[in-house]
């Protein structure tokens, strides 16, 4: 299938954003269609940000948060997790596959895992095909 999905990755600047940086610095390539959006904490991520990303034509949205108990702001990651759950059900009701929204725990040092997650995630979105939002009317 010749389709390059547009993917937005919301990254906490305390973990995944740094992991992505290290992955970059290691020249460990990951797909170029991943757009990284830096957040101060995954707890800042709102439902509307995810929905807006889909409205703007994203085929997938990845959210990276710190591991439980290691959020610099204590429970930001847990909050993010709950919001993601809520958004998943909302997306499904809207008619967007919930697999298009992925949530990962990651620490700054796990850059290899970041690359792996992004690659696999990209593959799974590619398999899903273009977002149903982009259907021509």
């Amino acid at each position: 299938m010749d389709f390059t999905p547009a993917i937005v990755a919301f990254c906490c600047e305390n973990s995944a954003y740094r992991a992505a940086d290290i992955a970059g610095a290691q020249q460990e390539g990951y797909p170029s269609n991943i757009r990284i959006c830096r957040l101060p904490c995954s707890g800042k991520l709102e439902i509307i940000h995810i929905l807006k990303a889909f409205e703007e034509g994203a085929d997938g949205v990845f959210v990276f948060a710190c591991h439980p108990d290691s959020c610099k702001f204590l429970l930001g990651n847990v909050r993010a997790g709950k919001r993601i759950d809520h958004t998943s059900t909302l997306l499904e009701k809207i008619g967007i596959e919930k697999e298009r929204l992925r949530f990962f725990f990651l620490s700054e040092l796990e850059w290899t895992a970041f690359v792996e997650m992004v690659r696999l995630g990209n593959e799974s979105i590619r398999n899903l095909g273009p977002s149903p939002v982009k259907k021509e009317p």
Partner: protein, 441 residues
Amino acid sequence: MNDQDKAIVIGGGIAGVSSALSLADNGYEVYVVEKKSSIGGHALSFCCKATEQCNSCGVCLAKDKVTRAASSPNIHLLTHSEVVGVREVRLKDGGVSFEVDVRKQPRFIDEDKCIACSLCYQSCPKPGIAISRPYLSSIPNVFSIDRNHCLAFQQETGCALCEDNCPAGAIFLNQKEETTILHASALVVATGFTAYDARKKGHLGYGRLPEVITGLDLEQRLLAGRASAFFGPLTREGKEHMPPRIAFIQCVGSRDPHISQDYCSRVCCKYAVRMAAKLKSQISDAEVTIFYIDLQKTESEFLSLVEQVRGKISLIKGLPVEIEKAGNGAGVSMRYENIDKGCMESADFDLVVLSVGISPAVQNQILAETLCLRTGRDGFFAPLNLLDSTVSSRPGIFLAGTCQGPKSLVESVSHGQEAALRAVAFLRGLKKKGLEEVCHG
């Protein structure tokens, strides 16, 4: 700036960095003298030990501190540097200050000019050996050239590929060793530890058997990639794709009167269980066993981690007697005492991790002589009083971190802060005395 507003921290490990930060936050000018090319010490070579959740290993805490130290305007980093001499000088106002000789080995790359673009690394015929940096985004984020491996120092023709390729003109292959003199009224010694050399325990097979590695090796391997990459396809008992069998051996170089390291290193039980949990979370069918003397069940986070791995990894009270190549060729075979069963047993493993302990740093004795400090029977710097373990035997010199005795990462951070407190109190005292003398005069 007055000498009484300055401090020198010897050692840029996590304790030293924590100490320097505390001092710098209060307006003191701090020089951090680090022997290696980057600050952060052991802590930055450790991997994150989170499984499905954070297991409080503290590596990210260390990284945080080191990054903050790097951007603090009051902290001056002197890498590739060592303290080679200390003299006490009397100041005009009657105070006392230290005059410290710092010898800086050439890095061959100018720290101010290097932009860490890594072009030198890419053009080097021996990248990672002749030109390297210890970790990515090391601090300072500057490469360094190793004279012993660089071709420029070995061939008469002289390789200068890096010099030609450096866009910033930051490479100076003719850099020489230089000695500078620093002045400060307080010194903090934070030279850290040396990991116990497991080769000395020949029966455990380290250095002899490739399957036997140390905890530090495992840290580095896990930092570089996932655990599943360590093992090739495992075949045994005629079956393929067998799960890896991993053993952790505790107290290698700790609690051992035979090598006169008869103290507990305080960190091994914790890091072993954390790493065991990490391995288990990455390879779900791995068979992980920890061999130990006494499991140091302290700290609530550790207790809940032990609870979390209960039933998933086996804990055997008892230590191995010998480790040899397994008879059938796959992995190693270990004979060990199972104390709970009261008998000798043996088992085969694909990977054996030796939980090496914290030994006093090799240069402790030399530095102790330079600084006129006392070391204890165990080889660590000895405090005057264990209830206040940062105060050394010489006024104005304070101890921080594992140079004083085994400590965990978090404990080292705390100890660094403690040493800063003593240094601040000392410097404030000097200043007050100075003022009084001026008034009297």
